[in-house]
Amino acid sequence: MLRSVFTKTVWDQRRGLLAWVVGITGVGVLYAAFYPSINSPQMQQALEAYPKGLLEAIGMTDVGTAAGYLGSTTFGLLGPALIIVMAAALGSSAIAGDEESGRLDLTLAHPVSRWSLALQRFCALLVPMVLSSLALWLALLAISGPAQIGSIGPANMLAGSLHLAMLGIVFGALALAVGAATGSRGMAYGAVAIVAVVGYFGNNLGPTISGLGWLHDVSPFRFYAAGQPLQHGLQPGDLLVLAVISGVLVLAGTYRFDRRDLAV
């Protein structure tokens, strides 16, 4: 069972994983359950009364359809927030956390190279990302009748969930890479926080502020959401961009990791 660093890491994550899966699917289900009440003429009028800028800033646009509603809520705000926090926690502990606690010395004194360790830990991080997004998909499918969100269709719901997993993977890669390069959990968390906040608002508001349009163009959230997977299905090009960014981050972080001293 626990033959490699990969299987051991996946196994060690199991308890936390359960909590994250419950959290992410719970948020998805709760939001979806509200859709029937949001989808009423009165509520639509109420929303129209809000300034357009504010709604854009928090990603609440096009909430009149099931796909638009879920895209603004489950997949627009709390879903990404939760999966990014999970990615930051897992990514920062993958190397930096182990190093700060002093556990890494023992593992790396074994016949395991630093490259192998970092790559196996990264692969182990993919598992909870994919599992929690699949759990979210299944939960949404299960309640799609009562919540009146069936119009999205199973394939597009899966597409939205996989985009969410990929968003988590990018931030997990960022946390792991910064942690590997610096040995500091704090730095890893900090990098995720900065990129997430700047990326999120840059994506939503960048186009409306002159000179900051480029923030939208490079934000991970653009590749996550702009293709509207809930409406249009999987966006392979966008996913590929996020995958390449993840890969480059992990390779760069591990390159530095391989060349530095481990902290005592």
């Binding site: 556990r103 004194a109 016949p111 395991v112 001293d261």
Partner: protein, 305 residues
Amino acid sequence: MADMIRTNALTKRYGRRRGLAGLDLEVRPGEVYGFLGPNGAGKTTTIRILLDLIRPTSGEVVVLGETPRLGGPALRRRIGYLPGDFVVGGAQSARQLLTHLGHLRGGVAAARIEALAERLDLDLDSRIGSLSKGNRQKIGVVQAFMHTPELLVMDEPTAGLDPLVQQTFLELVAEARTAGQTVFMSSHVLGEVQRSADRVGIVREGRMVAVEAVDTLRSRAVRRVEVTFDAPVPVDAFAGLPDLLDVEVEGTMLRARLAGRADPLVKALARFGVESISIEEPDLEELFYVYYAGSEAGSEATDAA
């Protein structure tokens, strides 16, 4: 046969702080080498360089014929390592952890783990988090020995072990030596290694101050002598004797320290009526402190050699 470990003018700087300042170390095949020094002398730094956990600033290091940096996983497969601070996840049992570590090394027989655990009286099935510090250290000892490596590198291995387990540990070291394995272990207390080590290297402020066979150390060691006589004795009868230091006479009591052959003292004692006599076991710690504290001359002599 080539040295198991050899370093040449090894230095390590952490920013402005000194780790090692030109360490020369030579560990021969099949010996038990005690690596001694006060805290902060550079013992852990040296050991972590041997395992490629940190990289030297300059100088040469060769372990089992290879540079740790280039030897990589294949080299570390041949080494058993016990870190000075043995930290592992608390949620697993010792058996789970040891099996996993065994797999990283290409598999270790469960029977071997069981046998070592039994000798050290280690419970393999409790959660590690529920074990005492001493019991966790036993897990560290097991994982270092379990794959019967050519070279054992252990940083303060007996820290936290109770005296009975220390005894078992020393037996394991002796058996490893008999089996042809080489053992390199650090300590800040000489007493911990003097019973098992063939040679001792004393490191101070990042340099090797002295390397001696333990037997030589013992023969040079200072013994405390206390003699009670039937009647008061004159100081002069003992004050001039060779190798007898710090002579004190108070009425019928003589206190001194003997730093060499006992013969002149015995002959001198024979002229008086002796009520009781006690000569302590060689106190290697005292010799050790001499090296630690004031041996600038000693360190230069080592450099010249």
